[in-house]
């Protein structure tokens, strides 16, 4: 089958649309927090959650018992619960004799399982009879009713194989997932496998097709995939043919594809992201997209179904006929294989279906349905009685007519469907109350005193604690700014050949920054590095691992003992064995064309000298500049032959040309590479104008435009952990899941430049001459604050360095002291020194699954001046972005904050929310079972979907949520009109607010009131004034 262009494009468009609800999955080397329901953000939050629950077969809210626990801990606003119940009941008719508010509140707060259960077989009259203890008799549902239910359950929204599995217990879906995962692991591998899949350059589908048609493994499993795949067909044609063979109407293809993609949403999300990541090396080399993925999946699915075609229905029309003709059998099969069967009759149903005699099946159907109906009626009655007892309504319940009971059950069912939102709102209300009780609106009195140091921290929630402690230990002022300091950087690290984007994933950096060594590095490769390389090569070949393990396996036992018993000392010792990175500077200024040309020439000369040394074993003193120059000219095609080299080494013409050829191909000394390098160098650095803009923007965004202190610290952050594939999840999200140090170094270098300061002065930002910008790094695992680029510090500042270091050390220790009890098995009060020791051990312990809590606990995003929250310990739960509306009359700065940092904060918040409410589906389950897949993700066990989201150890504590799942409560400190207009002008944020993905509060310092956006309306309230501690309603062991 060959498709016309129009049809091909239609399939591609369908796949694109089908993939939209599937969240991106970024490689874990640079973990990006994301909202798993990002593709549904155009819907209001409750609706999106309901859709997400169906699509991902997941839970969108905590189970009721989880919320009840929060209620006992005093973290739920009871009044808000009552108001929620009242609002729900306002639209419903009362049930005579039943105190509905009381019943529903009892249901919410005292009953830990659903009150409405069953498949709907039991009628109201049956429940009434069950309530009175009578025998339940009645007619069984008719054929049409059963057929309609089966069609709805099996045909409307499921892939065909899922329906087959639910009717025949075949497990095709699981087998298909396994085969697709294996195919993905083969194709997408990024160097983990020693033998890679052949033909990957041709794309996923083409490479897979070549393998699949010759695959003995598939053939042995009885899958004749070759019959489905034909030479001339592209993936689109395969998709069309499979869908037509399955008999699925074209109008449902997009929904069908979405369902297929959602089954392995980790892999689908990775492919979806990868197909759009133009800069991604592996995507450039081995292209793949969702159309390929769907074609592979559908072809394999059809092959698996074909294997079973002789024994039962395997297409939609056949399933339709089966339901039409053998509806009783279909019903019983569905009951058995969906797990809904009455346990007491399961074995009998299984045996009867296996025997396959229609008469026996008919008899069993009658008996089974009657039994199930009675069972459901009794179960429903029992649940209602339990609830009635909790609400003092047993008598009223016993007097209800069948009609009233039906209405009561209907109300309870509706309530349970929407209950999660009421709990969530009530929890958020309590969190809002707590915040409003603690903040102090209004500008701080300006004392005009110059602080000893000012420190700019990332808005990350982990900065809140250390900022508070730093302010507490001395005369320090702190500010919050997105951790990339507003400078999107594409960074090439010393010794690395690829660029890393150090900015939020929403941005693409235009400027490249290179790191160069300023101290003499040791060119000799250490013995340990050579040994490590040799070991890896031995480990990765075919036969040598068997011998290697026998020969040197014991050595790794020592390694294991060292890492386990003495992690700190052992790691320190190991570090010493490795080469230290030399001191470096960043190439920050733009190069002129001449300078760029000169740089390239210099690099080429160095490469040629190295090539001569390596190829001919010459020492540096034997390689003359003239020879190098001559070779460069020849390699670049500006001259013919290299007589000086030939004469020096006695080479014949063939050897000489062979070496020149190698210079061009292996060492890449040729004109096309030079063109590429010139292009890259064109991106290198920032012009003076750009530098001024970035510095001015960063300072204005946080309101730091005057009263600069002697030291201004730009504190990026990163984490330290061992044996942790999620390490980058603990790094800076604003730096694309990398450490924030480079961005800090870049901005510091810019801000220290006299030319930049002169231009800033023209804009009214007068940075005194004695102000020095320091890059620093906050290690969030140990809370250590380290200063960098100290070699550039002016001599005038050295005398103050000791005081600065002591202040930073004190803040670090106090912060660790506050934080460590949450990480210990049992909370205990530790001295600052002891807490620091624990933290240091956590960072180096390879068995530690939770080196730190990361961003767990995040709940607030506060945009305003520091004074607003300075006196209020937010326990590391708030993103704090400094902002002074007084210097932003046009709202540009606020809009920038809303567009970037707030959106990233919302992704982080939603990632934590959904990973907490359903860690298995939206999170990634326990880390203990994770294995790295293809060097870009993790799987549970040896084969699973790519695990997206956060692991249990990040959001749960001993099975209970550590992270409180709340939507991001965002506070903007500004006059109402100023803030609301800014929100309205940033459409992404406007819809996030209007659709309820963000809870927005505007603190108006001029009118002294707070405006809260709730249920599509604003409500205004005055400041509460003082902190009201919320005592726990009951003490609950955590």
């Amino acid at each position: 089958m060959s498709l016309r262009l129009g049809q091909t494009l239609k399939i591609r468009a369908m796949a694109y649309v089908a993939g939209e609800p599937i969240p991106f999955f970024w490689p874990m080397r640079s973990f990006i927090h994301h909202n798993p329901l990002h593709g549904l953000e155009h819907h209001p939050f409750p609706e999106a959650v309901a859709r997400g629950e169906r699509l991902f077969q997941a839970r969108g809210f905590l189970p009721r018992s989880g919320y009840q626990r929060y209620l006992r801990l005093g973290k739920v606003d009871r009044a808000a619960l009552g108001a929620g119940v009242e609002a729900f009941l306002a639209q419903r008719e009362a049930v005579a004799g039943i105190d509905l508010p009381k019943w529903i509140l009892a249901l919410m707060t005292r009953m830990d399982r659903p009150v409405v259960a069953g498949s709907g077989l039991a009628r109201e009259a049956d429940v009434v009879v069950a309530l009175r203890g009578g025998p339940i008799r009645g007619t069984v549902p008719g054929a049409d009713h059963v057929r309609a239910r089966l069609r709805e359950e099996l045909l409307d929204s499921r892939p065909v194989y899922e329906a087959v599995d639910l009717l025949f217990g075949t497990g095709v879906g699981a087998e298909l997932d396994e085969l697709v995962i294996k195919s993905c692991l083969d194709f997408f591998d990024e160097g983990q496998s020693v033998w890679s899949m052949p033909g990957r350059e041709r794309g996923f589908f083409a490479a897979w097709r070549e393998i699949a048609r010759r695959s003995g493994r598939l053939y042995l499993r009885g899958l004749h995939i070759g019959r489905i795949l034909r030479d001339e067909e592209g993936p689109e044609a395969v998709i069309v043919r499979v869908m037509e063979t399955l008999g699925v109407g074209e109008g449902r293809w997009t929904t069908y594809f979405t369902r297929e993609l959602a089954r392995l949403h980790g892999w689908a999300g990775f492919i979806r992201w990868r197909s759009g990541a133009r800069h991604y090396y592996w995507a450039q080399r081995y292209p793949a997209d969702l159309v390929d993925f769907l074609a592979v999946r559908l072809a394999l699915g059809l092959a698996l179904l074909g294997e079973r075609a002789r024994t039962g229905p395997t297409t939609e029309p056949e399933l339709e006929r089966f339901i039409e003709d053998r509806w009783r059998e279909a019903y019983l099969r569905h009951e058995l294989f969906s797990g809904a069967v009455l346990p007491a009759m399961a074995a009998r149903v299984e045996r009867t279906l296996a025997a396959g005699r229609p008469a026996r099946i008919e008899r069993l159907y009658e008996e089974y349905v009657a039994a199930k109906r009675a069972e459901e009626a009794r179960d429903q009655a029992e649940r209602l009685q339990v609830l009635a007892a909790m609400s003092d309504g047993q008598e009223a319940l016993s007097r209800l007519s069948a009609e009233d009971l039906g209405r009561l059950v209907g109300i309870l069912r509706d309530f349970e469907r929407g209950e999660g939102m009421i709990w969530l709102n009530a929890m958020e209300n309590r969190a809002v109350e707590r915040l409003l009780g603690g903040i102090r609106p209004g500008a701080p009195p300006a004392d005009g005193k110059r602080p000893f140091a000012q420190a700019l921290f990332c808005i990350d929630t982990r900065s809140e604690r250390i900022r508070r402690h730093l302010e507490g230990v001395g005369d320090y002022e702190t500010y919050g700014i997105a951790g990339f300091f507003g400078v999107p950087v594409s960074f090439m690290e010393l010794g690395k050949g690829s660029e890393v984007h150090l900015c939020p994933v929403l941005l693409t950096p235009k400027n490249l920054v290179m790191e160069i060594a300023v101290a003499q590095g040791n060119d000799d490769v250490t013995a340990l590095t050579v040994l490590e390389k040799a070991f890896h090569e031995l480990k990765e070949s075919v036969l040598s691992p068997f011998v290697t393990v026998e020969a040197i396996g014991l050595l790794f036992g020592f390694d294991m003992v060292g890492k386990t018993l003495l992690p700190e000392r052992y790691n320190r010792w190991r570090k010493r064995l490795h080469q230290r990175k030399p001191r470096t500077h960043l190439l920050l200024d733009k190069l002129s064309r001449e300078q760029a040309d000169s740089v390239i020439r210099a690099v080429q000369r160095a490469v040629i000298a190295k090539a001569i040394a390596q190829e001919f074993g010459l020492e540096a003193e034997q390689i003359h500049d003239a020879v190098v120059r001559e070779l460069r000219e020849v390699a670049m095609g500006h001259a013919q032959g290299a007589p000086k080299l030939a004469a020096m080494l006695g080479l014949d013409a063939t050897s000489e040309q062979a070496f020149i050829g190698r210079l061009r191909t292996v060492y890449r000394i040729n004109p096309s590479v030079v063109r590429l390098q010139m292009e890259r160098l064109g991106r290198l650095g920032f012009s003076l104008d750009e530098q001024v803009v970035f510095v001015a923007q960063a300072l204005k965004a946080i309101g730091l435009t005057e009263n600069f202190s002697r030291f201004v610290l730009l504190v990026g952050h990163g984490s330290t952990s061992e044996n942790n594939p999620y390490e980058s999840a603990l790094d800076c999200g604003a730096c694309g899941g990398n450490q924030g140090l480079v961005n800090a170094r870049v901005l510091a270098q810019m801000a220290n430049k006299p030319a930049v300061r002169r231009r800033l002065r023209e804009q009214g930002i007068d940075i005194p001459e004695d102000t020095w910008f320091f890059p620093a790094l906050h290690d969030t695992t140990t809370d250590e604050l380290r200063l960098f680029d100290l070699d550039r510090v002016p001599a005038s500042h050295v005398v103050y360095m000791d005081r600065l270091r002591k202040g930073l050390l004190a803040a670090s220790r106090l912060c660790t002291q506050e934080r460590m009890p949450t990480l210990l098995p049992s909370p205990a009060s530790l001295s600052p020194a002891a807490a620091s020791r624990y933290a240091a051990r956590n960072a180096l312990d390879w068995s530690q699954v939770r080196p730190e809590w990361g961003l767990a606990g995040n709940a607030y995003f506060i945009i305003g001046r520091r004074a607003l929250t300075q006196s209020f310990a937010l326990e590391g739960r708030a993103f704090l972005h400094s902002y002074d509306y007084r210097i932003d009359p046009k709202r540009r700065l606020l809009e920038t904050i809303l567009t970037g940092p707030l959106v990233v904060g919302q992704w982080i918040n939603m990632e934590h929310y959904f990973s907490t409410v359903d860690n298995e589906r939206f999170g990634s389950g326990s880390k203990a079972y994770h294995n790295v897949a293809g060097r870009f993700g993790v799987m549970t066990g040896n084969l699973s979907d790519l695990r997206t989201g956060l692991p249990a150890q990040t959001v749960l504590d001993r099975g209970f949520p550590y992270h409180e799942p709340l939507r991001l409560i965002t506070v903007i400190e500004a006059p109402f009109d100023h803030a609301w207009r800014a929100v309205e002008e940033v459409s992404v944020v406007k819809y996030l607010v209007r659709n309820g993905w963000i809870r927005l509060l505007i603190v108006d310092p001029e009118r002294h009131c707070v405006d809260v956006y709730e249920d599509a309306a604003w409500s205004r309230r005055p400041f509460p004034g003082t902190v009201q501690s919320q005592p726990a309603e009951e003490s609950v062991p955590s």
Binding site: R113, L342, P343, A344, M345, A346, A347, E350, E382
Partner: protein
């Protein structure tokens, strides 16, 4: 040994297709203690009958039929979800493996111990299945998961008893299997391979059963009580005694 004698023994040390008799009877008995007694007594009756019959050579074909029948039942048990039927099939598969030992003239007393080693864990499994039925309505894999969280003691007892039933090392079934394999290897190595394969299938079936009974997300059911400490202690103690006994099985301690 005459044919009528062989037939009667073949009912109690089940040879296919006579094994159907045991399984039909086992399926009809609903009372758990009675089932446990049947499991303990059935092979012993077979061995007693074998002992009182005139001595004679067990034909090679009978041994082959027994081992292949054992393999068949083990294979069939993999797909079973009903714990009672699974118990019956594993019992049938295990007892049939006594035939190779009978053919090699092993002491009847030793074989009684082997039979007991196979039967006791299965008898315990019947009691565990009864505990599951009382709580969930059936002992049937895949209908309710998460018992390990909801009912840790019952889940623990289930796991230990199933492991004992599939003859994992240290339990007597394992040593009985090893003894049977060791006696068969010199003359009929392919039979030893079949015995090994049977064991593999038992463990496979056992793990599938456990997967469907104790792990996975738990259903929101009405709260049910876990095993009491005393009940749990009973299972643990019995299994510990089995292990202690297994280490002293004839042919093992020598």
């Amino acid at each position: 040994m005459g044919t009528p004698g062989l037939w009667s023994v073949a009912i109690f040390l089940p040879l296919f297709p006579l094994s159907v008799i045991f399984n039909a009877l086992f399926a009809r008995v609903g009372n758990a203690p009675m089932r446990a007694i049947i499991l303990l007594a059935w092979p012993q009756v077979g061995l007693v009958l074998f002992g009182i019959l005139p001595p004679g050579r067990v034909a090679g074909g009978v041994v082959a039929l027994a081992v292949l029948g054992s393999l068949l039942y083990a294979f069939r048990a993999i797909a079973l979800r009903d714990v009672d039927r699974w118990t019956g099939y594993i019992a049938t598969s295990a007892w049939a493996l006594l035939w190779p030992a009978l053919a090699h003239h092993a002491a009847i007393d030793t074989l009684r111990l082997y039979a007991l080693g196979f039967s006791v864990p299965l008898a315990l499994l019947v009691l565990v299945a009864d505990a599951l039925k009382r709580r969930f309505g059936a002992a049937y894999a895949g209908l309710y998961g998460g018992t390990v969280r909801m009912l840790p003691r019952l889940a623990g007892a289930t796991a230990l008893v199933v492991l004992a039933a599939v003859a994992v090392p240290l339990f007597p079934g394992f040593f009985a299997l090893v003894a049977v394999m060791v006696t068969t290897i010199p003359e009929q190595p392919w039979l030893a391979v079949c015995v090994g394969l049977t064991w593999l299938l038992w463990t496979w079936g056992g793990i599938r059963l456990l997967q469907g009974l104790i792990v996975g997300p738990g259903e929101a059911v009405a709260p049910v009580a876990d095993l009491s400490r005393v009940e749990f202690g009973f299972y643990v103690l019995t299994l510990a005694l089995l292990i202690a006994g297994a280490l002293r099985l004839p042919g093992v301690t020598a």
